[in-house]
Amino acid sequence: MHRETEPATTGLHVVRATESFDRFYLREYPQMVAVVVALTGSRWAAEELTQEAMLRAYRSWDRISRYDKPGAWLRRVTINLATSHLRRRVAEAKALALLALRVQTPLPAQPEPDAALWDAVRRLPKRQRQSFVLHYVDGLSLAEIADVLDIGETTVKTHLQRARQSMQQELGEEDIQ
């Protein structure tokens, strides 16, 4: 079993000696599901992909728990899984279109409130979308996002600015009131 110790604080920049996997899971799982819901629009996929990432973390927890930022590792894995999931879904949609089946890929239940906003987020370019979601849904700082996405902090700032501009162009003020 893993030793249980209290986390010193929350966020990604926490140096923990070791934290129990269960505590890590209880804290991070719902947060990551929300992030993946924002990225993919699929609640079912969000829970499955996050669970898969958590399972990978669990298998290597002896190693991952010693990282300075196990949460950053989890986010990287989850975002990669979400990206693969989206690629697969696009490929499936193309294949179906080729077959002329006129079958629409059903999106699992989308939370009703702010649907227009999150749809617009999912139409953003990949890095803008990831930066936006990590910042506004996950609450990460620019430095933390840069760490998770392995890009420069200035680049993250640019992605966020462009994402906000796109959102403002796409969503009129009347859509967000």
Binding site: D22, Y25, V37, A46, Q51, P111, F132, V133, V137, Q168
Partner: protein, 216 residues
Amino acid sequence: MSDDWFRDRGIDLVERVSASIDVPARLDRLHGRHRHRTVTMALAGGVAVIGLIAVMALLGRLPDTAPVAPAAPLADTTRLLQPQNTSLPVTVYVALLDEFTVDEATAHCTGTGAHVGAADGSLVRLFDTTDSTRRLVTQKLLDEIGALIDPARVAALGLPSTSPACLFELATVSGAPLTEPAIQIDGEEWPPPEGFEAGWSQTGQQLVFYSRGLEP
């Protein structure tokens, strides 16, 4: 549409998602899934070990004379070099080399990664060492061969040129199963050279020109 507005929407999403998930139950499922995978892997490993033991036991009971004839891998050059293994996946048959002896052909192949398997006076067979290097080796090999062929003899055989590109066509037709025993050079179909027949290698993958009476 301020920064705070976006942030509030994000917080709202997290709260709604969190409120709708039974996180401890999901954690229990994760532990169950991990155990399931572990047990499955252990079972698969056990089955593999038992299978291996069974195969070893079976082989141990076989008489020494029992035929054990798996297909030779391409990389197994020892087997490839045995002339009697005519059914091996030969990559390239170049009938134009019929004037070469084994030693001459071997000398020309030096450094190309290819091996000369057999020569019978009218057919030299050239083997690649591995599938992954097939194209490279073939091209390199044919470049060398192309420079060595007597144009007068090629003209007598009815082929259009001795250029490596022409010869390469001979090799590239071996890349996929074909339905007609013929080759195309620059889009034009060419019959086998006089004195040769066209056919398929025993693997069905190569178009072969062979001297009559020396079918692959």
